[in-house]
């Protein structure tokens, strides 16, 4: 809550609504990386908004998840420069290794593979995002290592 108040203080007192996106990020990070309707209602209450003002924003922006997601969400950039450097093969490899399809959490809820649009790392392709961080110049070996690190709980993925 202290962090939320701080975020709200970044905007004029009568423009609380402006804090909506940063606050939603904060709330989502603190709640298993997804925003239930209850949480969205709570955010509306804190920022003195109508619930619809929060829903319409949550549904617009792709970073807000509206259902439970895998704890370690591997978001592969699948736009042209990454494709040019073989990301599609790596996505297939990762899905096979975890025995899942795209956007389908593993049964233990640990992993989820997603394809997302350009993440601004084209020169370091292929790459993926996990939490706040990018993993670049990917290879199958690096993916194996990353998955092992996740399983061992040996990875920092939020910068708090």
């Amino acid at each position: 809550m202290a962090r939320i108040n701080e975020l709200v203080s970044h905007y004029p007192a009568d423009k609380k609504k402006s804090a909506l996106l940063p606050v939603l990020h904060e709330v989502q990070d603190a709640h298993d990386n997804w925003l239930s309707i209850e949480l969205q209602n709570k955010v509306a209450e804190i920022l003195e908004l109508k619930p619809i003002e929060v829903y319409e924003v949550v549904t617009f922006y792709t970073m807000f998840n509206q259902r439970p997601v895998g704890k370690y969400m591997l978001e592969f950039c699948q736009t042209s420069p990454c494709c040019q450097r073989g990301v599609e093969d790596l996505m297939d490899y990762t899905c096979q290794k975890l025995n899942v399809g795209i956007a389908q959490p593993t049964t233990d809820g640990l992993f989820e593979v997603r394809g997302v649009e350009c993440l601004g790392a084209c020169g370091y392709a292929p790459m993926l995002q996990l939490g706040d961080y990018y993993h670049e110049h990917l290879t199958k070996e690096k993916i194996d290592q990353l998955i092992d690190d996740c399983k061992a709980g040996n990875i920092t993925f939020y910068d708090k």
């Binding site: 990020h25 908004l49 042209s80 350009c118 084209c122 020169g123 706040d132 910068d159």
Partner: protein, 454 residues
């Protein structure tokens, strides 16, 4: 070695920190600007010829001069760090490795605009960069460069970072403002322009990271010194994000005016093609700009050398030219399939269309579906005309330029690579695997679709 203005200090150990940045001469432009009149600062930037580095290339000084100072409303400077144009990753590099340069530029520019509350709008995916900037801003506050009465000048400025949440459209300035107000990123109709009615209906200037980062150098030296670099109306230096099938992908600062051939092949920059395979195509300015075929990359249609300038890259219009755009320089070798790549871009625009205007919302979906059908061997002869028709109906018929940006790559791909589309339609069995051109590049099978001659 080309001259470096933005990245000259990037390799100084510890330049991320305030102490080192200041020791290296940082924040000098703020000291100087505080002694100048706002009009004089704007005149310097006008004289520099600096053009917006986000893609549109509109002169920065002129944009500043439009800001409404008469109404007495609060003014804002908003930095556009929503960098999402496929192929572009220069702003991230600048913010990640030399964050104080952007902050210094924000302060100096805010002085010129007499803005007391400014924001850096950064895309949500760059969360670790957001944290880097937040920490750098705290350092700047602590050192007295932000807050009330900066350095005893009587000028107040608050600066905050605001994060987006995954929407390409928020790089469009009015959508960015909507998003900063806590709404969906739907672009606004212009006029009124943000300079009159922007953030919270206050006069606002929105500038790209790289544009703002160039301001300290211009103020420390002079507009004329900046204008002396480059060629004609392409003044100064530009960050180019180089990616694709080249030996050394990365961010390079170039003096505008070097040749495309030098940029691709010299060891100072891209270092040549990744595996010495032939160059097939180039997207010089981010996914939105027209793709160029091999014969139009090093030379223009007139046979002149193609240069890295706004003018030379657009030489020949869309028939035989392209655009410098945001400097997202994507190089393709002969393994690339232009149909697949065009489909990839179309999917991107379909995903990123905000849905406000019908031609874009519906048209981008059609483009994606028809291109997917062709790429997967289910294309029909008439599909190429259908694509042409769809893109022509989107272009120019939408509130913001996303519609145009979705149309241009499709139009250019058909214009320059029509035979490749025909090959996909006529030989579906040959394109079953997505890497169909890796083992059998299109040049080896082009004769199959060559027009018959008598």
């Amino acid at each position: 070695m080309g001259r470096k203005i933005l990245l000259d200090k990037i390799n100084v150990p510890g330049i991320k920190s305030y102490e080192v940045y200041r020791r290296e001469g940082g924040y000098a432009s703020v000291e100087k600007a505080l002694k100048m009149t706002p009009e004089a600062i704007i005149e310097e930037v006008k004289a520099s010829g600096l053009r917006g580095r986000g893609g549109a290339g509109f002169p920065v000084g002129m944009k500043w001069s439009f800001i409404d100072k008469k109404s007495g409303k609060p003014r804002h400077l908003v930095c556009n760090a929503d960098e999402s144009e496929p192929g572009t990753f220069k702003d991230r590099y600048l913010m990640e490795y030399i964050p104080h340069l952007l902050i210094e530029g924000m302060i100096t520019s805010s002085i010129a605009l007499e803005a007391n509350l400014s924001y850096i709008y950064i895309r949500g995916e760059y969360m670790w960069v957001y944290k880097i900037l937040e920490r750098a801003i705290q350092e700047a506050y602590a050192a007295g460069w932000l807050g009330k009465n900066i350095q005893g000048s009587g000028f107040d400025l608050d600066l905050y970072v605001h994060c987006g949440a995954g929407a390409y459209i928020c790089g469009e300035e009015t959508a960015l403002i909507e998003s900063l107000e806590g709404k969906r990123g739907n672009p606004r109709l212009k006029p009124p322009f943000p300079a009159i009615s922007g953030l919270w209906a206050n006069p606002t200037v929105v500038n790209n990271v790289e544009s703002i980062a160039a301001v300290p150098w211009i103020i420390n030296n002079s507009g004329a010194d900046y204008a002396a670099i480059g060629i004609g109306r392409s003044t100064g230096t530009k960050l180019i994000s180089a990616s694709g099938n080249i030996k050394k992908p990365g961010v390079y600062e170039i003096e505008l005016g070097i040749s495309v051939e030098e940029f691709i092949n010299s060891d100072e920059y891209c270092g040549g093609m990744e595996t010495d395979r032939p160059l097939k195509a180039l997207v010089p300015g981010g996914s939105s700009v027209p793709i160029l075929p091999a014969h139009l990359i090093y030379k223009t249609a007139n046979g002149d050398d193609r240069l890295m300038t706004y003018e030379s890259l657009s030489d020949g219009g869309f028939a035989t030219g392209s655009m410098l755009g945001s400097g997202g320089f994507i190089v393709y070798d002969d393994r690339a399939c232009i149909v697949r790549n065009t489909w990839n871009f179309a999917r991107f625009y379909h995903h990123e269309s905000c849905g406000q205007c019908t031609p874009c919302r519906e048209g981008t979906g059609w483009l994606e579906k028809v291109l997917w059908r062709i790429e997967n061997g289910e294309g029909r002869e008439e599909d190429i005309e259908l694509l042409w028709s769809i893109q022509s109906k989107i272009e120019g018929n939408t509130i913001c330029p996303l519609g145009d940006a979705a149309s241009w790559p499709v139009a250019a791909a058909i214009r320059h690579f029509r035979e490749e589309f025909e090959y996909h339609v006529r030989f579906p069995e040959k394109i079953k695997n997505r890497d169909h051109f890796t083992h059998e590049p299109f040049d080896k099978v082009r004769h199959l679709v060559a027009p018959q001659t008598v």
